[in-house]
Every structure is written in structure tokens, then in C-alpha cells.
């Protein structure tokens, strides 16, 4: 049922003698602005940074994977170490600011790349779908292990991770935020499992790493592609972040705790092709 068309509202024309009431002539004079906000001239990626080694790479996997993926796609962009998730529309880093001041996050960045025909995907449809499955596997299995290593291995959490993520906030708020973040991580890990068992989490990470190692083989990129894709970006980001975490050298620390702190790193080091791949990618794309 269509609604009856309503008649248009009448527009009231002001009589000519009342026209001055609109004050169209005012203001009489416009002076220059008191402040000109800076405008980015090219896209900027807002990330956590600077990284562990080299100032360029972010220490956060999500930021690093997007950072390196944009490089794969040939986007000319700046990296800004904002370290402040609250600045993002989704309260999460990274996000991409496209001139003049449009903010893109998550899937929006992929859409933007696609629209500009810059995205890199595998040519074969089946492989592309399979690569997405690998991305999910990395995010699930390796992601859980990385979160565990960063926030729940006491040595890493207190000595390294908290400082990296909240070091720019003044004390004692940084401690409080780190504590909150840790609680958040525990909650997010408990979504998929009933109890947190260190061995179980690292075991599934080891399985994922073996699968990735086999998949990569001796190729330059996953699936034997000639160019890197989003899977390479994600895989590299995880490997790099895991390998780049500094080792605790404090001799007073408990030996057992020290071993746990480097357990995930050792799992990656077991696969020489993955280590070689990470080093090569780093020197090609981030130096």
C-alpha cells in the first residue's frame, strides 16, 4: 500500500523590505583563522610503536600485519606511533587516516584497498580461500599463545609488555591499565576454553607452526606465490613479534619462569625456514 503523497510544505518568501533581517551582510569582516590544524597529505597508519628492534616495525601484531600489508600493496603512507587506542573510532589500533581526515579501521581498510585496486590476493580462488583459513588459524592458535606469552608469563608482562603498551601513561595509571588489560586478555582467552593450561596453549601453537612450516616449504611466500599476500603479512607479523621480544637476562629471575618466558620463541626457532622467511621479509619490506 503506497502512502498518499503529502503536499509539499509551502515556502514562505520574506517580503523584500524584511530581507535585511537575515543579516546576510554580516559579519562585515572575516579575519584569518587563529589556528590552522595540520592536515595529512598522505595516508597515515596509527599504530603502537616503536617496535623492539628497529624503530619502524610496530610491536603489536595487528598493527604490524596491517603496516606490512599496506607496504605489499604499494600504498605510500606514514606510520604514526600514537599508542592510544582511544583515538580510534573502534577503540583499537591500528586505524588508517586517509586525507583529508577520514578514519578507516578493520575491514574498511581492506575495502578501501580493494576500491583502489591495490589489494593483493592469490590468483586461484581455492587457494585464496585456503589462505584465509590459515590466517584464521594463525590468529586463533598463535594469537592465543602470543597473548599468553605477553600478558600471562609474569616475567614478560611485568618487564616488557606493560612498559611497551602503557609506558607513555604516567604512573600509577599505567599499572592500573596494565592490570585491566591482563584481566581482559584472560577473559578473551577463556572464551574458547574452560581453563588456561600453559602446555595446551603452547602445544596448539606448536601444531600451527608445524603446519605453517610445511605449507611454506622453501618458497619465498606462502602458496608459492610470486608476491606477498595478506597471509604473508599476518604470518610475518606473528613470527617477527614473537622473535623480537627481548630475552630476560636478569640472573635473579627464576629459571623456570625464564624458560616459560621464551617458550613460544623457541617453538618458532625450531622451524628454520620460518626464521629465514621472517628475516628476509623484514629486510625486504621494513628496512
Amino acid at each position: 500500500m503506497s502512502r498518499p503523497q503529502l503536499p509539499a510544505l509551502p515556502t514562505i518568501e520574506l517580503p523584500a523590505f524584511l530581507e535585511p533581517l537575515k543579516l546576510k551582510k554580516f559579519p562585515l569582516r572575516t579575519f584569518p583563522a587563529t589556528y590552522e590544524p595540520p592536515r595529512p597529505t598522505k595516508p597515515t597508519l596509527q599504530v603502537f610503536g616503536p617496535g623492539w628492534e628497529g624503530k619502524q616495525a610496530s610491536f603489536d601484531v595487528d598493527c604490524l600485519s596491517m603496516q606490512v600489508y599496506l607496504k605489499f600493496c604499494g600504498v605510500d603512507f606514514d606510520v604514526v606511533h600514537s599508542n592510544e587506542p582511544y583515538s580510534s573510532p573502534k577503540v583499537k589500533l591500528p586505524y588508517l587516516v586517509v586525507p583529508p581526515d577520514h578514519c578507516l579501521y578493520g575491514e574498511q581498510i581492506h575495502h578501501w584497498l580493494q576500491k583502489n585496486e591495490k589489494n593483493k590476493r592469490l590468483e586461484k580462488e581455492a587457494e585464496d580461500i585456503e589462505s584465509k583459513a590459515f590466517v584464521t588459524m594463525i590468529e586463533k592458535k598463535l594469537g592465543a599463545a602470543l597473548l599468553f606469552t605477553l600478558w600471562l608469563e609474569p616475567l614478560n608482562a611485568s618487564e616488557l609488555t606493560s612498559t611497551k603498551y602503557f609506558g607513555h601513561v604516567s604512573s600509577p595509571i599505567d599499572k592500573l591499565l596494565a592490570y585491566r588489560k591482563k584481566e581482559e586478555v584472560v577473559q578473551s582467552l577463556l572464551i574458547d576454553r574452560d581453563v588456561l593450561i600453559r602446555e595446551e596453549i603452547y602445544q596448539s601453537a606448536a601444531d600451527a607452526l608445524s603446519a605453517l612450516s610445511v605449507k611454506l616449504g622453501a618458497n619465498d611466500y606462502f602458496f608459492g606465490s610470486d608476491y606477498p599476500t595478506y597471509l604473508d603479512a599476518v604470518a610475518f607479523a606473528y613470527f617477527h613479534v614473537i622473535l623480537a621480544i627481548p630475552q630476560i637476562t636478569d640472573s635473579n629471575a627464576d629459571k623456570e619462569a625464564k624458560r616459560h618466558a621464551t617458550e613460544l620463541r623457541n617453538l618458532v626457532l625450531n622451524h628454520s625456514n620460518l626464521v629465514k622467511y621472517t628475516k628476509k621479509m623484514y629486510s625486504t619490506w621494513l628496512k
Binding site: R29, A33, T34, Y35, P37, Y86, V169, L177
Partner: protein, 474 residues
């Protein structure tokens, strides 16, 4: 005639009228004022919770008088102090020659008979302040420890401050009603979506001293607060995004107010002065370091007026208000003491019906898209000519014509004076207009027709009608 005389002589003399009694009383007082006397004992009756030591302190200067006049003045003064402590409903004074058989000849006993106010006090209400309305509730416990301490817990929900919780415990200093110290804790969510696309959450603790000096009212306070700027609007500007996050401020501030106006909302004469200084970064705590000064002065002059207005029956109904010229000047400077830019929550904002009319709230000064960013230095001034309206001179209604001007700029510590002056005068925002003022008992309401004359590019001005509601107008 005969009857009258008889009656008068038969009965007792008629009781004196009030005037007569007062006259006699004054005569008596005058005659005895200079006679020696001293206070022999002082008693306070009717207290249950108030501590003896506190009362001793509060009434201590009653004993200094050497003459009857001194004693009467001292007693009156003490009664006034007790009343102003806000813990007694009523304070009655009884002054008598001492009953103590061992007392000296010219000794007096003083008895204060008081009634304590109820201890718990619940209040709910709606309030209208400077451009903001809110509803609030509070619980007050008076005289908590028997020393006129006040424990106040309040919550409010409003338009600008989405929610605010406050807790404070205060006590008088030296049992004086004019000086209080308090400790407080607060948590406020400020909604700045309208003009700056963000919300601000402030949590803090502080201590405050409020007191009077010979020059005026002082407030010295320390505050430690954790501010979070978050919930940036989807279309918020990049400048606001860069402000997001946490900051910690540890600051001491002093503010001084000297108010000699005859009315706060619509003064006809007198002047008002306010100085505020704030030093942030005290004790090397926090990441916010700055020195902030703000000055406000206003003066009002009345011309004509003062005649008594009578209604048609010839009864006085009001005093003619005359024509009032009022001038208001404000200025502020924020100097950061580290290389960081000041936080938006510490910066000055300018514009709106209460400051520069003809511009939107926070519509003057640095801006990115539609978000006002605030500035580090400003000046603003306003001249108003306030006149009574014909036939409505006895109502709290006035007409006025005004000129408002001001400028708000970003400023970096170390900028030379000449550059600062140049920047402050380069882009003045000026508006003129006229309107009607209604002085309500709690706030002032204005409806103005505004014409912006000059603006800085980016200013959010408003041609035509503008409504203003608040306490502190320029």
C-alpha cells in the same frame, strides 16, 4: 474625661509600646555601656552532639570584654558565629548578673540556649547553572564528630556533566564559620560532544581551604585527578583524536574573589574581581605541567534612578532602577612547563551567550572542522547598557544593548610579548546586539538579537536571536 482619669489611676500603668520599650532599653544601655564588667561564666544549653572542646573554641573570645558594652558586643558576635556554623537552628542569648555568690560585683553570666539542627539532611532538586541544567540528589550529615564537620555525598545528572559523583568531608578551621577545610573525592563524566566531539571522564581527590581575608574570599586547593578523553565521535576531527587518552594532573590552585556588587545576577553598582592561578605538575606527579592565570573584573555604574515608583493607589512598589552601564573584562594565559601541548580539558574555551554573545558555545578560537580545540591565551570584554523597560520598571525585566569582543589563540611558552599581542589582536571576534534580560531569583535569562561584526575564519557565529541562561554573564 473624669472616667478616663479614674481608670488610669486605678489600674497599673499601661504596658509601654514597642518603640517606648526600645527607647528605654537604649537609654539604659547608653547609661551603663561604659561601666566595668566581665564575663564570669558561659554556658551553652541544648547541645547533644556538639563537643565541649569545640564549643569552648567557638566561644573563646567572649571573655575579653572589660565593659558592659564590650560584653554585649562580644556576646552578639559569638551568637552570630554560632549561628553561621550551620549546625544550630536557633541561638538565644541570656545575659544576667552572676548568680555565683563568690563572683565579683560586676560579673555576668552568659547563657547561649541553642537548638541543634537535625543531623541528616537529604536533598534532591534540579539546578540551572552556566549553560547547563542538571538534576541532583545529596545526603548531608551535619556535625559528624561534634565539631561542625559536614559530610556530603552527592550525585547529579545533567546536560553538560552527564554524571557527577562527589564526596566531601569538611570542618571549620579554629571553629570559625569563615574558614573551612575539606577533603573530597569526585568522579565526573563531561559530555563535550556538542562542541568538541568527545567525552571526558575525570576521577580525582583533593583538599581545599576556603576562607576570608581583609581583601576578600580565598580558596586554596590541591587536586589530583586522572582524566580520560574517550568516546570520540565517529566524525570527530583528527585534532581531537590526538587528544584522546589518559592524563594525570597534580595541581595547586588559588583563587581570590572580591565581590562588591549589589546583586550577583544583575548588578547596578559595585565591582567584582577574580584572580585564579593554577600550577600543575606539583610534586613531580603526573604528565601535566603548566601554569595558568585567569583574571576577571567587572564594574557597574548606575545613572539616574532611585526615585520611588508608586502604583495607582500611591503605594510604593519599587525603586526606579535607572540606567546601568556595565563593563566586564576577562583574560587568561596558560603556559606549559614541558614541551607537550596542553590537554584540551585544561585549555580555555570562549564564545557563547555567557561570554561573547553572537557566537556559539565555545565557538571562538582554534578549531578543527566543527570541533573547538580551546586555546592558551585569551581576552574578552563586554559593555552593556541596561535600561528599564517603559511601564515595566518595577519588574525584574530590563532591556539592554551590548558590544562583546574577544579572541582566543594558541600560545607557546616563550613567545615574545609583541608576537603574543599581535596574535591576540589579529583576529578579534566582535558582536553587537540588543535584547531583554529577565532576572529570575536563581538565574539570569537573556533573549538577544545578535549581529556578529567581525569573526576569525572558522568561528561559529550566530546571527539573529540567541538565548542565554546562566549566572555569570559578560
Amino acid at each position: 474625661m473624669e472616667d478616663d482619669k479614674e481608670r488610669a489611676s486605678a489600674s497599673a500603668p499601661p504596658p509601654p509600646s514597642y518603640e517606648e520599650a526600645a527607647f528605654r532599653m537604649f537609654g539604659l544601655l547608653n547609661a551603663t555601656a561604659s561601666q566595668p564588667g566581665h564575663v564570669h561564666s558561659l554556658r551553652v544549653l541544648g547541645t547533644e552532639r556538639t563537643r565541649d572542646s569545640f564549643l569552648k573554641l567557638a566561644t573563646s573570645n567572649t571573655f575579653t570584654g572589660m565593659t558592659i558594652a564590650d560584653i554585649i558586643n562580644d556576646v552578639q558576635h559569638t551568637a552570630d558565629r554560632l549561628q553561621r556554623l550551620d549546625i544550630f537552628d536557633s541561638v538565644n542569648v541570656i545575659l544576667d548578673t552572676s548568680r555565683d555568690p563568690f563572683a565579683a560585683k560586676d560579673a555576668f553570666d552568659v547563657i547561649f540556649s541553642v537548638k541543634e539542627k537535625s543531623r541528616f539532611f537529604l536533598k534532591t532538586g534540579t539546578e540551572i547553572g552556566n549553560g547547563e541544567g542538571n538534576m541532583n540528589g545529596s545526603v548531608v550529615i551535619r556535625n559528624v564528630f561534634g565539631g561542625a564537620e559536614m559530610l556530603e555525598t552527592s550525585a547529579s545528572f545533567g546536560t553538560r556533566n552527564s554524571s557527577a559523583f562527589q564526596f566531601s568531608l569538611s570542618r571549620p578551621v579554629n571553629a570559625s564559620p569563615d574558614a573551612r577545610i575539606d577533603v573530597n573525592a569526585h568522579s565526573v563524566v563531561r559530555n563535550n560532544m556538542m562542541f568538541s566531539s568527545h567525552e571526558e571522564l575525570v576521577r580525582g581527590i583533593g583538599a581545599r581551604f576556603k576562607g576570608l581575608s581583609n581583601w576578600g574570599f580565598h580558596e586554596i586547593s590541591y587536586d589530583l585527578s586522572w582524566r580520560t578523553i574517550d568516546r570520540i565521535a565517529e566524525n570527530g576531527s583528527l585534532s581531537i583524536r590526538n587528544q584522546a587518552g589518559h592524563s594525570l594532573k597534580s595541581s595547586i590552585s588559588h583563587s581570590f574573589v572580591r565581590d562588591r556588587r549589589d546583586d550577583m545576577l544583575l548588578p547596578t553598582k559595585g565591582y567584582y574581581l577574580r584572580f585564579t592561578q593554577e600550577l600543575a605538575g606539583v610534586g613531580k606527579i603526573g604528565d601535566t605541567k603548566y601554569l595558568k592565570h585567569e583574571v576577571e573584573a567587572s564594574i557597574a555604574r548606575q545613572h539616574g534612578g532611585g526615585e520611588i515608583l508608586r502604583d495607582e493607589n500611591g503605594l510604593a512598589k519599587a525603586i526606579a532602577p535607572g540606567i546601568v552601564l556595565s563593563l566586564n573584562v576577562r583574560g587568561g594565559l596558560l603556559a606549559t612547563l614541558n614541551d607537550k601541548e596542553a590537554n584540551i580539558s585544561d585549555k580555555f574555551m570562549l564564545g557563547g551567550p555567557l561570554s561573547i554573545r553572537g557566537f556559539r558555545t565555545c565557538g571562538v578560537g582554534p578549531r578543527d572542522k566543527k570541533d573547538s580545540l580551546g586555546g592558551d591565551a585569551y581576552w574578552a570584554t563586554g559593555v552593556s547598557l541596561i535600561t528599564p523597560l517603559p511601564k515595566l520598571a518595577d519588574k525584574p525585566l530590563r532591556g539592554h544593548a551590548f558590544v562583546n569582543a574577544g579572541s582566543l589563540i594558541p600560545w607557546k611558552t616563550g613567545t615574545s610579548t609583541s608576537d603574543t599581542i599581535k596574535a591576540l589582536t589579529a583576529s578579534p571576534s566582535v558582536a553587537v546586539g540588543f535584547g531583554i534580560i529577565y532576572r529570575h531569583s536563581v538565574a539570569r535569562l537573556e533573549l538577544n538579537f545578535c549581529i556578529p561584526l567581525t569573526v576569525a575564519r572558522g568561528d561559529m557565529f550566530k546571527r539573529g536571536f540567541q538565548l542565554g541562561l546562566g549566572l555569570n554573564f559578560m
